[in-house]
């Protein structure tokens, strides 16, 4: 049972990491319309950030953290790698 809870916590941690990063990105995504759409910019940060904090307290903390931090690490690595790749491929 503990293993199942840990596995679910891990997957949920990854999922909520993806949603939280996406929510943080939304400010930049709405850059040209932030004045008008500020609720759409701030809302997801509160919603997904809050959900992640609540889930971290309720679920298997260690597995959740591994899932969350693991996803963030991979996401950052992918972002850096893709930027380097395209900078090299699309250099003037």
């Amino acid at each position: 049972m503990r293993t199942i809870v840990a596995a679910i916590s891990f997957v949920l941690g990854s999922y909520l990491a993806a949603r939280t990063i996406a929510a943080l990105y939304r400010v930049a995504d709405l850059r040209y319309a932030l004045r008008r759409e500020w609720r759409r910019g701030v809302g997801p940060i509160i919603l997904w950030g809050g959900t992640a904090i609540a889930a971290a307290m309720l679920m298997d903390k260690r597995a959740f953290q591994y899932g969350f931090i693991g996803y963030v690490a991979i996401s950052v690595a992918l972002m850096v790698a893709s930027r380097l790749w395209y900078r090299l491929r699309l250099r003037e």
Binding site: A18, A23, A28, L30, R31, L78, Y86, R89, L90, E92
Partner: protein, 856 residues
């Protein structure tokens, strides 16, 4: 040294095939300009004296990636050498003899390799020809002709054809330059199909080089071989000509306005060309591809070679199994230009590769990643989005681990983007306009940086470019899921409705920008109708002059304001908009006026009424389903709503990322302008035939303008050849699907349904909506493909049939929105269906039946 008229067909090893053919024709009294040949013996002597014969022997052992550098090194060795005195004197004597008293005579220096101009290999454009050569430059040009035997393209061509490098030698022909008034080509058989019933002649003003390398659209005459009657002629708008006189020296110049749209050949001249072409064929014993020119009303024969039937791949395709990348080809069936391929290749994954000017997907990789027992043919069918009714493939456990790894990687890479694209305001992509404006205005941003910022990953602080592309890809992936869900539910709960119901339910979403474009165009037509003078001008003036004439018409000012507003919103669009070479409506509104003319030919009525046909059909079906399905209708409605939403996102993101292509184009044009100003590029449009590394080379000076010009000429010829043939759907895979087998069954053509319905009407074949506006309302539009810029024609068409496309194609989405029957993937429809044929389009069954042909 040999006089040209003395060359014989048995002398190919000594004078090359081109000189041998010309010699034979001159002997038989055909009008070949006088000249002499520097034989292959002289060439071999020079090569030996330079000591590079051993190095040439190494060509076959050089790796593919070293070929280019190796070839350039060999060329430099030859061009930097000096021709020894004895040979140089002989050449000067022969030249003096040729020019006689005309001391200012210009010459043309042509390569004549032993392996070129044969039935097996034309080597068209692979070796050099120099026009307008002064006597002082003669030796240099001869050296350059010899060196052209080792251009990377010629080396690759020989490898692909299995021709040993050492076996080829180069003779050089020096002829008197003819100051051409009209020039062109003549094929004594169809160069694509090999069909012998017609002679195809193309002609334009000035030198023939512009016709041969595709820089101008020439006049085209098709003459019946038996009756020698002209069966059809197309007089093109010839904007440029290359003059071969001492003043112009082969530089492209605008054609005077009065000559642009008039026929280049009189009836007598056409008869002379036909007569000479047939004589060439008779003398040389095979269908011929001849080049000719008129000067002082006399015909001169410049070249005659056997027709090598056009094939897509002059070079061998890469090993492996490939299927055409449909999302591009269904929007743009022509081959892409080298620069476009280079730029897109940098942004694409290694799974996709450019072959013969089109992008292909590597079937081997996709097959590995799918956890099913699938043949190559099945994967190709799946990737080409062809529904052939095959049973569900069997699951294969051993492939599961790799599939799972791929899924996890895909999830990690896309889940964040997926989340970011949800819950955004409807008009969030409009911010892309602002980004485009910023990028366009920033002089520090070049074409590649623009491509990166607008069409790949964007900037961390300004990621809207990434969002637009991501939304497009993710929506394209999610749409089939929701369409499939609607299909499954209806099959189970309302089986009597059939496939049409799925298409109707999943179509008709408001807010699709391409549909709005069609409606805006209809409004523009309505505005034009308010002023009879404007309507008359649009209907009768030569389409290229419409813009100028409208500006001069005082009553057209209100209409022009509306045109400007339309262009502000949709000016980044164009037919063939996927290609950076294509001018956008904002730059040249000629295409737009052509579409407007088509609109005006239709009946007057409330704008956009046709466009609402789809909505009415959907409303009726929804009413029926609401009453018959009860609570289950909620599930169907939800799934159909999701499908419509993703289709809308896909269409709208396309609308915006085409805007990005427009900005990249502008950046490229800036670079081109700079290169033309510096004298490094000859004419506008040339840059699209270079690779980006070559553009950089030209700018820095590491690539000489002369070499670039030759490369451009070769690639233009290659591009033209590729354009004449349809790309094969697969490479390395033999397809035997029922779809393929059904293609040629009697009077019925088969394809796939993209928008359901049945319609009977008369065929109107349109190859370019920007030039051909003859669609009468209610006709059946038949076209090679249809991208979003074609869709305004959907407002007038009764139904449409295209060679390439799919259910999820952009034009398919718009057709469903309009409720217009639309059949896609009908192989050979532009050949089989002719103007005036009466046809039944049963789009629901994916079928077109010829009822009555025009002649009947």
């Amino acid at each position: 040294m040999l006089p040209l008229a003395a060359a014989r067909s048995s002398d190919v090893a000594l004078v090359g095939a081109k000189a041998a053919n010309l010699g034979e024709l001159a002997r038989d009294g055909l009008p070949v300009p006088p000249g002499f040949v520097i034989t292959t013996a002289a060439f071999r002597h020079v090569i030996q004296s330079l000591g590079i014969d051993k190095e040439i022997g190494r060509v076959g052992k050089v790796g593919e990636h070293e070929l280019c550098a190796f070839g350039i090194r060999l060329q430099r060795q030859v061009t930097s050498a000096a021709i020894e005195a004895t040979l140089a004197n002989e050449i000067s004597e022969a030249h003096a003899c040729l020019r006689g008293a005309d001391t200012r005579m210009l010459s043309v220096v042509r390569s004549s390799a032993t392996a070129e101009d044969t039935a097996a290999a034309s080597f068209a454009g692979q070796h050099r020809t120099y026009y307008c050569v002064e006597a002082t430059d003669l030796l240099e040009k001869i050296l350059r002709c010899w060196a052209s035997l080792w251009t990377p393209e010629a080396i690759v061509y020989r490898i692909a054809r299995g021709i040993a490098h050492m076996s080829v030698a180069m003779a050089v022909i020096v002829q008197r330059m003819i100051p051409s008034e009209v020039s062109g080509t003549a094929f004594t058989a169809d160069p694509v199909s090999g069909e012998r019933g017609h002679i195809v002649i193309e002609s334009s003003w000035g030198l023939g080089s512009a016709v041969v390398d595709g820089r101008v659209t020439p006049d085209r005459y098709i003459v019946n071989r038996e009756t020698l009657e002209t069966e059809s002629s197309r007089i093109a708008d010839k904007r440029f000509m290359v003059r071969g006189d001492r003043i112009a020296m082969g530089v492209p110049a605008p054609v005077p306005e009065s000559s642009r749209r008039i026929a280049t050949l009189s009836r007598t001249q056409l008869e002379s060309v036909v007569s000479v072409a047939l004589q060439c064929e008779e003398l040389l014993g095979a269908p011929q591809d001849i080049e000719w020119t008129f000067a002082d009303d006399s015909l001169h024969l410049l070249q005659s070679r056997p027709i090598t039937t056009a094939r897509l791949h002059e070079t061998a395709p890469p090993a492996g199994k490939w299927v055409l990348f449909k999302p591009i080809v269904e929007n743009f069936a022509d081959p892409l230009t080298p620069l476009q391929i280079d730029l897109m290749g940098r942004a694409f994954s290694p799974f996709i590769q450019a072959i013969g000017g089109r992008f292909y997907v590597n079937v081997k990789w996709v097959r590995r990643l799918l956890p099913f027992r699938l043949s190559d043919e099945a994967v190709a069918t799946l990737l080409y989005l062809t529904s052939d009714g095959s049973p569900m493939p069997r699951f294969q456990v051993t492939k599961l681990p790799l599939s799972l790894i791929a899924c996890v990687i895909a999830w990690l890479a896309s889940s964040e983007l997926l989340a970011r694209s949800q819950g955004m305001p409807d008009d969030f992509m409009d911010a892309y306009r602002a980004l485009c404006r910023n990028v366009e205005a920033d002089p520090r941003v070049g074409p590649l940086s623009a491509l990166r910022r607008l069409l790949t990953i964007g900037e961390v602080s300004d990621p809207i470019g990434l969002m637009v592309v991501s939304v497009n890809c993710l929506a394209a992936l999610r749409t089939p899921f929701w369409v499939g869900a609607v299909r499954a539910m209806l099959r189970r709960w309302e089986p009597s409705l059939g496939e049409d119901a799925v298409a109707i339910l999943c179509a008709g979403s408001e807010g699709i920008l391409t549909v709005e474009m069609g409606r805006d165009l209809a409004s523009l037509a309505g505005e034009a109708r308010k002023e009879p003078e404007v309507t008359k001008l649009l209907a009768t003036t030569t389409i290229e002059d419409v813009s100028q004439r409208l500006r001069e018409l005082p009553v057209a000012q209100s209409f022009l304001t509306q045109v400007d507003a339309f262009l502000f919103k949709h000016g980044h669009r164009a037919v063939k908009e996927f290609e950076v070479q294509t001018a956008r409506w904002g730059e040249d509104p000629t295409q737009l006026y052509a579409l407007l003319r088509s609109q005006l030919a239709g009946r007057e009525g409330p704008e956009g009424e046709n466009a609402r046909r789809g909505d009415r059909g959907r409303e009726q079906l929804e009413k029926h389903l609401r009453s018959s399905l009860g609570w289950r209708w909620i599930m169907v409605r939800f799934a159909a709503g999701r499908a419509r939403e993703f289709l809308k996102l896909r269409e709208n993101s396309r609308f915006y990322h085409i805007m990005g292509f427009g900005v990249v184009r502008k950046k490229i044009l800036d670079v081109e302008e700079e290169l033309i100003r510096d004298g490094k590029l000859g004419s506008r449009g040339d840059i699209f035939y270079l690779l980006w590394s070559e553009v950089i080379g030209l700018r820095s000076g590491s690539l000489r303008a002369e070499d670039a010009e030759q490369t451009i000429q070769q690639r233009r010829i290659e591009h033209l050849r590729r354009k004449r043939s349809a790309p094969p759907r697969t490479l390395g895979i033999t397809m035997s699907s029922p779809q393929q087998a059904k293609i040629d069954s009697g009077n019925t053509l088969y394809g796939q349904c993209a928008s359901p319905g049945r319609y009977e009407g008369v065929v109107r074949l349109i190859r370019d909506p920007g030039g051909d506006t003859s669609l009468t309302p209610g006709e059946v539009l038949v076209a090679p493909y249809a991208d979003p810029a074609w869709t305004p024609l959907f407002l007038a068409a009764g139904a449409a049939v295209v060679e390439v496309g799919s259910y999820l194609s952009h034009s398919g989405t718009i057709a469903r929105e309009y409720g217009m029957p639309f059949v896609v993937d009908v192989a050979g429809c532009t050949q089989r269906l002719e103007n005036g044929m009466h046809v039944l389009v049963d789009a629901s069954a994916g079928m077109v039946r010829i009822l009555v042909s025009e002649s009947e």
